[in-house]
């Protein structure tokens, strides 16, 4: 007998795909978890929620928000109800992302060498040459294994009929993977036995796979190459993630000031003198990486690192210049890239996108602005965007002027009604909009994606914006093993 009836109060919007509910009944993948949750009283669920909060706080899984000169530690809100993905859905996503990454890597290789895709007119050269992240410095040299995107965090959403769409390709320094790992650890603590009983596939291999890949990129073929994770420092909002990954992989966490380039090799300054560095997993943006070549006032980078990179004395992960591939104006052409380089049909769909630099498309967007979301082409994290459905006339007017001043920097997409999933809030289950960011790793042997990812939640009722900077939270993301293979998770 269920103690509480969680489902009674659960309301799903019309015209929205709900991950748990279909036509007033629970989807199969959710049944076991919901049965279990229904055995718990609201008090017990509240206790679990409290425990989760305490665990995040005491482990320092926080980011710092600066307010009136004082740093305040916040936790990235965590919802205790997992998001569940079936084996079939996952298989589709996995194939789609692998295909996309294969094409994106080929595109980067091409754009920084022969530029066949421009010469064949598949992508207008204007779009590439006007992209601020197109780095001419990346021409005329090869990167190890021709891999540019070693780590990606591609964002997926689902629309009203459940179709998956690619929302954004994050190919530079995608963050959030530590939350995938930590959310899982928290679930283990608050819901003992629930994971094995549901045949949930493990995500713990992520740091091992990444480490193995990093070793393989080492230019020096030595037994124990020196691998470092370069962080902007403790004030960066993702610092927790940087230190977690460094610890899980057992690599050195360094800041720009720890490194120096001598005779085109990178060294770190140790208590025993200089030690050569072979692979740098950097979480510092291109622009700040080498003050000699890019932003001369940057304190975060290392002068001369690019010359060491060019000489092949150090591997940098991800490669520089990837921003030309995840630019939101270039995004439109990814399906074309897949056809061009792989002669395949894209598995995962793009959201239709309007280029505001083109007058007709701009007019169309402006006259349908209440159904549109307008975004800056080179920003991410939900910064600088306009939701036409929620903006005031004044905001729309100002934004239009901004667009007209620099139309190349904006694209628009029809607002997609993201799928919803149950969240435990105020003592009951409530539907909130979500997205999904799986983390894919490219190594010499191909692309690997740990079965899982980060599910971000728009915690405000009715909101479609899941970014943490805009009041989003996250959930543990379960990928179930194939049917009939219960208990045999990788």
């Amino acid at each position: 007998m269920p103690i509480s009836d969680l489902l009674q109060s659960y309301l799903v919007d019309n015209d929205t795909w709900d991950e748990m509910y279909a036509r007033a009944s629970v989807r199969e993948q959710y049944t076991k978890a919901i049965d279990f949750l229904q055995q718990l009283s609201p008090e017990e669920l509240n206790k679990k929620e409290d425990l989760a909060k305490k665990l995040f706080m005491s482990q320092g899984i926080t980011f710092t928000v600066y307010n009136s000169g004082e740093g305040i530690e916040k936790i990235f809100p965590f919802d205790i109800i997992p998001r569940i993905i079936t084996a079939t859905e996952w298989d589709f996503i996995e194939r789609g992302i692998k295909q996309r990454l294969k094409a994106l890597n080929l595109f980067l290789k091409d754009i920084y060498s022969n530029q066949f895709i421009l010469k064949d007119g598949i992508i207008p050269a204007q779009i590439i040459f006007s992209c601020p992240h197109y780095l001419r410095e990346m021409h005329n040299f090869a990167v190890p294994y021709d891999i540019y995107v070693h780590i990606s965090g591609i964002d997926l959403i689902r629309d009203a009929d459940g179709t998956f769409y690619i929302l954004e390709d994050n190919l530079r320094t995608p963050s959030g993977v530590s939350y995938m790992l930590e959310n899982r650890e928290i679930t283990k603590r608050i819901f003992p036995d629930l994971l094995p009983n549901n045949n949930v596939r493990s995500v713990t291999e992520y740091p091992n796979i990444l480490y193995r890949n990093l070793v393989s990129f080492s230019p020096r073929q030595i037994k124990n190459p020196t691998i470092v994770l370069l962080t902007p420092g403790i004030y960066n909002s993702a610092y927790f993630e940087h230190s977690t990954l460094a610890r899980l992989m057992g690599v050195e966490l360094v800041q720009g000031s720890d490194l120096v380039v001598d005779n085109h090799k990178v060294y770190m300054k140790t208590t025993n003198g200089l030690q050569q560095v072979d692979v740098i997993y950097r979480r510092v943006d291109d622009e700040f990486l080498d003050p000699l070549v890019f932003n001369p006032t940057s304190m975060l980078g290392v002068a001369g690192i690019l010359s060491a990179y060019r000489k092949g004395n150090v591997a940098i992960v991800n490669a520089l210049g990837n921003g030309v591939a995840d630019d939101k104006a270039v995004y439109t052409y990814v399906p074309a890239m897949i056809k061009y380089y792989l002669s395949e049909e894209p598995i995962l769909k793009n959201v239709s996108t309007y280029h505001l630099a083109q007058e007709e498309e701009r007019e169309y967007v402006f006259s349908n602005i209440q159904n549109m979301v307008i975004k800056k082409t080179n920003e991410s994290g939900g910064y600088g965007m306009l939701m036409g459905s929620a903006a005031s006339d004044e905001e729309i007017f100002q934004y239009k002027n901004e667009v007209l001043a620099n139309p190349r920097e904006f694209i628009a997409q029809p607002i997609i009604s993201l799928s919803s999933a149950p969240c435990y809030m105020d003592g009951k289950l409530q539907a909130r909009r979500i997205d999904l960011r799986p983390y894919a790793l490219c190594g010499p042997d191909g692309v690997e994606i740990v079965p899982g990812g980060l599910t971000r939640v728009a915690l405000r009722e009715g909101s479609l914006i899941v970014n943490s900077s805009q009041g989003g939270g996250s959930k543990d993301t379960w990928v179930l093993g194939s049917q009939g293979l219960a208990g045999e998770s990788e």
Binding site: Q59, Q255, K269, N272
Partner: protein, 308 residues
């Protein structure tokens, strides 16, 4: 080990040692303030543990609760326990992958305790000893956790070097401020003065057991500078500093190591071959100033040879 990491470990440890020293000093001085309203003054505490100059100290409210607020939770005081623990935690944060998760969690807890609004209120309204005890215990959990979990490698050496250097400087400063104002044979200060001085560095019971004939300046100097039984004495701290420093020696010769080893060795012999009489004879103030100079020099040399 990265130079920056060594530097952060060293400072994290120095800050934690300083926080402990301040908290103990405050606890005992608070007790004294309740005991003897005539003799007692907060001035020496402010002199030892803040960067205020004598003029500012004279202008400072010596109201007990105000001093406690300033010393414990005062945001404007760069040496308040709150600021010191915050600094220790920031250092820990930047070397999270070089300390154990337990150590980090324990510093993190300490930090959140310090920031709790209720703490400041309790310090104003309730029994300050209870508040200070909670904080002292947080520090002790850190010390214990470090001892039990931290690997005995290079990182541990830098932690201990920081701890014992800070402790040696503190003990010589406390002695300097509290005693050197008195004349060479001035044994007239009353028993309470000595008692609280020794209590504040947790050396009262040891003194009673060692010297049975009441308080004498000579004996106090002997215990605080020269006793190798007393864990807060200058010589005890310097010996341990040296022991942990020697572990940094590596196969390939390092000029920096040799220089520093010489500096610390010299300081050690200077103290070892002193007696309480010789110290008082040559002048306590001069002696302590010289020791302090050598300790600061050691710190600067570490900076140059290991942390740069």
């Amino acid at each position: 080990m990265l130079s920056r990491v060594a530097d952060s470990l060293y400072w994290m440890s120095r800050y934690m040692e300083r926080a402990d020293g301040i908290l103990r000093m405050l606890k005992i001085n608070y007790a004294w303030s309740q005991d003897d309203i005539q003799e007692f003054s907060w001035k020496p505490v402010l002199r030892i543990f803040t960067s205020l100059n004598p003029e500012e100290i004279n202008g400072f409210s010596l109201n007990t609760r105000d001093v406690l607020q300033y010393m414990v939770t005062g945001k404007e005081n760069s040496n308040s326990v709150l600021n010191i623990v915050t600094l220790a935690r920031e250092n820990a944060r930047s070397v999270q992958d070089h300390i154990t998760k337990e150590m980090w969690q324990c510093l993190n807890d300490f930090y959140h305790t310090m920031r709790d609004d209720n703490l400041a209120v309790a310090l104003q309204k309730d029994d300050p000893i209870t508040v200070l005890d909670i904080l002292i215990r947080q520090g002790l959990i850190y010390v214990g956790t470090t001892d039990v979990t931290m690997a005995r490698g290079e990182g541990n050496s830098f932690l201990n070097i920081g701890k014992f250097l800070e402790r040696a400087i503190q003990s010589s400063d406390i002695l300097n401020v509290k005693i050197s104002g008195l004349g060479a044979d001035d044994n007239h200060a009353d028993a309470a003065y000595w008692k609280y001085l020794l209590l504040s560095i947790s050396g009262y019971e040891l003194y009673l057991k060692t010297y049975r004939g009441g308080f004498e300046i000579k004996n106090v100097v002997e215990q605080v500078v020269l006793s190798d039984q007393f864990p807060r004495s200058v010589i005890y701290s310097v010996n341990h500093l040296h022991r942990h420093f020697e572990r940094l020696k590596t196969d390939h010769s390092n000029e920096g190591f040799d220089n520093l080893n010489f500096t610390i060795g010299k300081l050690k012999s200077r103290i070892k071959f002193s007696t309480s009489s010789s110290i008082i004879h040559e002048g306590l103030k001069k002696y302590l100033t010289e020791i302090r100079f050598c300790l600061v020099e050691t710190g600067m040399s570490l900076n140059k040879n290991y942390f740069a």
